[in-house]
């Protein structure tokens, strides 16, 4: 059967903050996807049977972000042309830029980010392509962004994007430009996804940093943060985001095998298969 979706392994690692190893993430997720296929056991509450192909942007860890972005972008364009839904599997969050580069009209595609961290820094440790800058680069490129589940940020990035007086525990922030909004972790809990769902356009790129999940279900990330989403909560939110929308692409990033006991790889593999089934690529 012809694959309807393709996972693109993007083993990029250059700027991990605390624990190195996310360049090994795609291989760990690939192994788990193989095991899932062999086990022939599926979640009963959401579909996972969509044929999925696996391609590698490179067969070893790529340190140069520009090189990895170029490789990913080329593959994403090929899959777009073939009507196949591309899912980039990282690697550092930087690889999301490769998928975004393949979208010719950035203003038409909302980037929906699930992440513990804001990732809005203009640069980090001298690099504009650090994992801590991923969403800032999306904004710079002209994409509207919707941030969900964030529970960690620095005051400079909040002030830069959301304005000078970002104080207040309301759980929802909106940039004066209207091109960025953030539903924090507490905001998601207290206000609900409805607070942002209408701000998401008809075409999306979904980016999932695995640290958005609670460390109890996804401990294998470089910078774990407490009070994350449950797996069911994330699946429910993805369902709501993707319902009735077209997905140009998606990514699942920041898997860090040296810190994993198997749980995170399984969660990541399930997410990839969920996205493969739920994502509707442009015709």
């Amino acid at each position: 059967m012809r694959a309807r979706a393709a996972a693109i392994a993007a083993p990029h690692e250059a700027t991990a903050s605390f624990v190195a190893g996310c360049g090994l993430g795609p291989a760990a997720i690939a192994e788990r996807l193989d095991a899932l296929a062999a086990a022939d056991t599926e979640p009963v509450r959401y579909p996972q049977q969509t044929p999925l192909s696996w391609v590698e942007a490179h067969d070893r860890t790529v340190v140069d972000p520009a090189e990895m972005i170029r490789l990913v972008s080329r593959l994403v364009r090929e899959f777009h042309d073939a009507g196949v839904f591309p899912i980039v599997v990282g690697g550092e969050h930087t690889v999301a830029a490769g998928a975004l580069e393949a979208i010719d009209d950035p203003g038409s595609a909302t980037v929906v980010q699930f992440d513990a961290h804001a990732d809005l820094r203009a640069e980090y440790e001298g690099s504009p392509w650090s994992h801590a800058c991923a969403m800032r680069r999306a904004l710079d490129r002209g994409h509207p962004i919707v941030q969900i589940g964030v529970r960690s940020a620095c005051i400079e990035e909040i002030r830069d994007v959301y304005g000078g007086d970002a104080r207040g525990p309301a759980g929802f922030l909106e940039a004066p430009s209207g091109r960025a909004c953030m539903l924090t972790r507490s905001g998601l809990r207290d206000l609900g996804l409805g607070r942002v769902i209408d701000r998401i356009g008809p075409l999306v790129h979904v980016t999932i940093d695995l640290d958005v999940l609670d460390p109890s279900c996804a401990p294998g990330v470089g910078t774990p943060e407490p009070d994350g989403l449950s797996f069911a909560e994330l699946i429910g939110a993805l369902d709501a985001v993707l319902a009735g929308r077209t997905a140009a692409s998606a990514d699942v990033v920041e898997m860090c095998p040296p810190r994993d006991d198997g749980r995170t790889a399984l969660v990541a593999a399930r997410l990839v298969r969920f996205l493969a089934a739920a994502g509707r690529p442009p015709r």
Binding site: S17, Y124, C154, I155, P226, D227
Partner: protein, 279 residues
Amino acid sequence: MPTDTLATTFLGVEPSEIHRAWAVVAPAPYDRGASESAGARLGPAAVLAASAFVETYDLEAGRDPTEGGIATAAPIRFSYADGQASVAPVAALVEAELRAGRFPLLLGGEATILCGSAVALESAGGIGVVRIEGTLGCDDAWRGLRLAPRTATRRAAERVPVRVCGHRTAGAAAREWVRGRAIEGDIADPAAGLPGAVWLAIDLSALDPSVMPMPGNIEPGGLSYRDLAGAVAAVFSARRVAGAELTGLVTGSGDIVPAFTAARIALRILALAHRRRFP
């Protein structure tokens, strides 16, 4: 968010001169009286290392507590020759910081350090203790030690008013001792019945093992992170919090989650204290 993995300051910020700081983070690496798993003496270093990778802005509190200056003190030095010697250096530090008007946050180490804090609180006067702990801590002695995590609530209560909440285990003698005494509190309003100023003593064993998976913390039924965050917020809403201690981080499993979680809780305490200090 600096990336110095050998960070010796909380949040990895540039060291503040202590007289310019509004808050002081003080490592208290003491673990002589540990019940289940020793290793809490390594806890402060693990929290400091993780904290360097924690963003400094607390989205829920709406504050960056590094604004105004946080100093990180040199680790308190303890003598392991004499268990009683754990008290004096902690008491001296807390007393000095309270007198200087700074907000002290002790990083344990085991919960025994509360015995030293209580000496300083008694001396200051008018300050009660909110203790959030996995065990009641009201034994009179534990394995021959009068100063141990299992006795810390009782030692503190002998000096100042105390409410303990979040506990899910207690020995028979401890349960008997608290009967008729106003010691056990309510996690929904942890400071109820205490004076207008309190010392917040949190032991990480209060958290469920799924949240704080570390050696020795295996008793099910602990608090969720939200439970704890809610209790901390309730204390800050209801009372002036004079200072705090965060104890019980036991390293050794290789899992980095407990240290990151501890660092986030410490950040939340300081962010809420910052909001009270600078309205």
